[in-house]
């Protein structure tokens, strides 16, 4: 029996408004990120010969994709769910790349199924980052552990001047 309902299918093609990340590319945030991935290349923190052609210090290549976080004043899902034993810690603004959460899939487990990414330029320290996304496809697949739903999201990340930084196509696996 299909678990892919018409209510889920209607999200296919839905596009987000252009969202501006609540923080610009900050040196301290880049430091924490580079240290967390254990890649302390000088291009991420100092003016050097290897980032001269990028215009100075830059963030790691995938950094813009992780920059869309909960802004000041937005509801706090962690506190709201403090007494919810089923809350998995996923914060919708991060997991859905600016798109509305797929309501019928609330409560489904979420796993990262993979990504296809194109890179055009780095985000420089001080730049803002903008995001536009769409649900490109939502399909169902039968597995040995039962049916799963594959949610394909396409996103473009641009700097404040509108220059394309990264284009992504991500697959999220949702299962009951």
């Amino acid at each position: 029996m299909s678990i892919l309902s018409e209510a889920v299918k209607k999200y296919i093609g839905m596009q987000s408004e252009t969202e501006i990340a609540c923080d610009s590319v900050e040196r301290g945030a880049v430091r924490r990120y580079a240290q967390a991935v254990m890649n302390e290349d000088p291009i991420f923190f100092a003016d050097c010969a290897n980032n001269e052609r990028y215009g100075g210090p830059v963030a790691p290549p995938l950094y813009p994709t992780h920059l869309f976080r909960r802004p000041f004043g937005a509801p706090d899902p962690i506190q709201e769910n403090a007494r919810n034993p089923d809350f998995d810690g996923i914060v919708a603004t991060i997991s859905s790349q600016g798109l509305p959460e797929i309501e019928p899939l609330k409560g489904y487990a979420l796993l990262n199924g993979g990504s296809e990414i194109e890179f055009f330029r780095y985000a420089r320290h001080g730049e803002t980052v903008k995001l536009t996304s769409r649900y490109a496809d939502i399909t169902e697949k039968e597995t040995s552990k039962g049916p799963i739903i594959l949610v394909i999201t396409e996103s473009e990340f641009r700097n404040g001047d509108g220059d394309l930084l990264i284009r992504t196509r991500r697959t999220q696996i949702r299962r009951k």
Binding site: R32, Y33, Q35, A49, N50, I90, A109, N112, G114, D163
Partner: protein, 160 residues
């Protein structure tokens, strides 16, 4: 490969491995540090009772997003300051769990001339301590010709 080492299109031999990267063992502290750096609080990466009892996972999982970072480091270290990693794709086919050491590998699968630079296709992946592959993927890296100019920045893909 040391950060900033230059590699040229002519150096890329089909079938040859690019220098590997090793990360780990990746402890709970590594996973928590990454979750905090990107402000993603998915409990399966740091809340062991939730991961095992609620989500029925075998252990805390190493974040797929963290594994992507390692693949990007493998590729950007190899491309060097005059090259450019144009495309990368990853599939998360198997889980990696806390305390594993990961070996990130890449192999040149094809190469072709581009507009003023060369394009090199890479097969890549991540294997655990036991050699099990979890994250097969592909990439295309633009490299300068020996004696030529760096790959243009910002990167403009070749016409299809």
């Amino acid at each position: 490969m040391a950060i900033g080492t230059k590699v040229y299109y002519e150096d890329a031999a089909v079938g040859a491995d690019i220098p590997q990267l090793e990360k780990g063992p990746l402890t709970t502290a590594h996973l928590m540090r990454w979750s905090a750096a990107m402000e993603n609080w998915h409990k399966i990466h740091y809340d062991k009772p939730f991961a095992i009892e609620h989500d029925k996972l075998p252990e805390l999982l190493i974040n797929g997003s963290l594994k992507q970072q390692f693949v990007m480091q493998l590729l950007t270290d190899w491309a060097g300051p005059d090259g450019w990693v144009w495309k990368a794709s990853f599939q998360f086919r198997a889980m990696n769990v806390v305390n594993e050491t990961l070996r990130i590998w890449g192999r040149v699968s094809a190469k072709r001339d581009g507009p003023g630079y060369g394009l090199v296709d890479i097969e890549l992946g991540i294997v655990d301590d036991k050699g099990k592959e979890s994250t097969p993927g592909k990439a295309t890296v633009a490299l300068p010709y020996r004696g030529g100019k760096p790959v243009p920045y910002p990167f403009v893909p070749p016409q299809a």
